[in-house]
């Protein structure tokens, strides 16, 4: 009998396609936006987690200049030197230390070229950033000391310069310096600020300083702490050492900053979850509005169909049957709207994931919840109009024009 009523509801819905469409539009939009928001939010959370993993959990970054937020310009404090890095690596808290000097350069291999970032560093960089090689090898000590013309390239550079050929052992030019590719980094993907982390060439730091930049500057030093060491202790030890080395008097501010990547990571995670929560609640409100829309149109539809209800009562429908019919119609409609909304929302989320280069992360739980919720909307907002229909007096209803 319920199945029969569901079939009747489908008939009634198909009989008036435009009205049905307008009725469910709100639910379609509401469910679609909830699904899209949550799915995109989950995708970007997954992305943030991946970034957090790639940042390394126990990593500190030293930069010259006072502490500022974000990547803005810094005051021109004295750059670090390689001796600073050597001194840091004697700290018992440090597991790996990697000084870096960055420049941008055009790199050329055969007829292909690419403008990319060149980072001069030491063999410790791969350990400090927890970044494995796919093939080839790390810099040797001899190469570092001799400022040898060797490079380790990342995935984007490999793709655009070498295509299908194995890059290891191939010659490559960085600005005017001819060098040899000795290793390939594992792909890392998009970074926290949307940058391509794989658009990178690593060279020994002295090679960059002497042959590309013509100075001895170290722009930042990455320190990976030992597992047993807390970030607070690491920061304290490093700051004490650097204040000493940079001869900062008591009462003077640091002229360098130490950033705890774990903090950056947790900040990114919380920004992301706040944004996702905010957008999802906006979407949830639109779902509620969609439910009220259903009620509104169902009420209009009860008035419009008064005569029909009268006919049904005259041929022997009980008021419970009329109530069930209208309620089932509302539920079928809102489930239909919910299903369309889920499909639409997943489509939008997929497109957004492509566009934002984040993982597409559909959540079975959220989809099931949206489905159930749309059914509940049908029951809740369909009940009032249905009860109104069921309470109609058959004679009045039949006389209604």
């Amino acid at each position: 009998m319920l199945w029969e009523t569901v079939r009747l509801a489908f008939r009634a819905i198909i009989r008036n396609k435009l009205r049905s469409f307008l009725t469910v539009l709100g639910v379609v939009i509401g469910v679609a936006s909830v699904i899209a928001m949550v799915t995109v939010g989950q995708g970007s959370s997954a992305q943030v987690s991946a970034n957090v993993a790639s940042l390394g959990t126990n990593v500190l970054i030293l930069r010259p200049g006072k502490q500022t937020m974000g990547p803005g310009p810094r005051d021109n404090a004295t750059p670090f030197t390689l001796r600073d890095a050597d001194a840091l690596s004697t700290l018992s808290a440090a597991a790996a230390v990697a000084p870096t000097a960055n420049t941008s350069a055009t790199v050329v291999a055969g007829s292909a070229n690419r403008a990319t970032q060149v980072t001069g560093t030491t063999a410790g960089y791969l350990a400090a950033t927890n970044w494995p090689l796919v093939t080839g090898r790390n810099f040797s000590e001899a190469e570092e000391r001799a400022a040898a013309p060797v490079c380790i390239i990342a995935e984007t550079v490999r793709k655009s310069l070498f295509g299908a050929t194995d890059p290891v052992g191939q010659p490559m030019r960085v600005k005017s310096v001819s060098c040899t590719v000795i290793g390939l980094l594992a792909p890392k993907g998009t970074g926290s600020f949307g940058q391509d982390q794989d658009d990178l060439v690593l060279m020994p730091i002295r090679t960059v300083q002497k042959r590309l930049e013509g100075n001895d500057d170290v722009e930042r030093i990455t320190v990976a702490l030992r597992k047993s060491v807390t970030a607070e202790r690491g920061i304290r030890d490093i700051a004490a050492l650097m204040r000493d080395r940079r001869r900062i008097g008591i009462g003077q501010e640091d002229d360098f900053s130490v950033t705890n990547m774990a903090e950056v990571a947790s900040m990114l995670t919380s920004i992301n979850s706040v944004l996702t929560g905010l957008l999802s609640s906006v979407a949830a409100v639109s779902l509620l509005v969609g439910g009220i829309g259903i009620m509104n149109i169902m009420l209009v539809s009860v008035t419009e169909r008064t005569r029909e209800i009268g006919i049904r009562l005259a041929v022997g429908a009980t008021s419970a049957q009329v109530l069930t019919q209208f309620l089932v119609e509302a539920v079928v409609l809102s489930i239909l709207g919910g299903t369309i909304g889920i499909a639409l929302g997943l489509g939008l989320a997929f497109a957004a994931a492509q566009f934002m280069a984040i993982p597409f992360a559909p959540q079975a739980g959220v989809i099931a919840l949206a489905f159930c919720f749309s059914a509940v909307i049908g029951v809740v907002f369909g009940f009032f109009p249905a009860r109104r229909a069921a309470r109609l007096d058959p004679i009045d209803a039949l006389r209604h024009q």
């Binding site: 009998m1 029969e4 009747l8 008939r11 009989r15 008036n16 005569r307 029909e308 009268g310 006919i311 049904r312 009562l313 005259a314 041929v315 022997g316 429908a317 009980t318 008021s319 419970a320 049957q321 058959p394 004679i395 039949l398």
Partner: protein, 234 residues
């Protein structure tokens, strides 16, 4: 000991409004209709014909007096029990046809059977048979909008017939039809009365329509002022 009349109204009144504004639509009506009768009700507009039909049809209740159907007193019955009586014993035909729009003839006829709880395989043959009885085989899939007035009224008769009623109540069934169609409808009702033994109570304004019935009742100001047996036109 004879069987009780099928329909038995005694001292039935029905008033609308209160106090000064009270209107007595029915004012002490006594009426007994036996199984198998074909009754025509006439009378001026506002004389209470439709009110009487609504009470007989279990769509309305008397303000006072008693209504017995098949010997059973109905006063105490609730709305749902009245719905069951309509479903099981009564069929309605209206002046304005009252078919569901955008719904095929067959689906319209199925309607009372759906509420009886018959599954499709049981109700489809009954609905088809009812349409055949009213001469509309082949029009099952037509919408009311695709049918003439006479055909729409036939669909309504088929719908009333589908539930296998004891009584068909027809309030001005030919009011919206031209004379030719009206006589066709009346011949159909007369056949149903004679061949199937269905009791028919019909309101009409036209003498020649009333002439199909075997009994004529005239209402004036909420009372029955004439009640006579007629031949029943052939």
């Amino acid at each position: 000991m004879t069987a009780p009349p099928l329909i038995d109204l005694s001292a039935v009144t029905r008033s609308y409004g209160k106090g000064e504004a009270e209107v007595r639509a029915l004012d002490g009506v006594n009426l007994a209709i036996a199984k198998g009768e074909f009754v025509a009700i006439m009378g001026p507009s506002g004389s209470g014909k439709s009110t009487a039909m609504n009470i007989i049809g279990c769509l309305d209740r008397p303000s006072s007096g008693t209504y017995r159907f098949k010997g059973a007193e109905l006063q105490a019955l609730g709305n749902d029990q009245r719905a069951l009586i309509r479903r099981n014993y009564l069929g309605f035909i209206f002046q304005g046809f009252n078919l569901l729009p955008r719904t095929t003839a067959l689906e319209n006829v199925e309607l009372p059977l759906i509420y009886k709880g018959l599954p499709p395989e049981a109700r489809l043959p009954l609905a088809r048979a009812a349409l055949e009885k009213v001469g509309l085989s082949g029009r099952e899939a037509h919408d009311p909008a695709q049918l003439s007035g006479g055909q729409q009224q036939r669909v309504a008769i088929a719908r009333a017939l589908a539930g296998n009623p004891s009584v068909i109540l027809a309030d001005e069934p030919t009011g919206n039809l031209d004379s030719h169609r009206s006589h066709e409808i009346m011949q159909l009702l007369q056949t149903l009365n004679r061949d199937e033994g269905i009791t028919i109570v019909m309101v009409t304004h036209e003498e020649d329509i009333a002439a199909y019935a075997s009994r004529l009742i005239v209402f004036t100001d909420g009372r029955i002022t004439r009640d006579e047996t007629t031949g029943g036109r052939t």
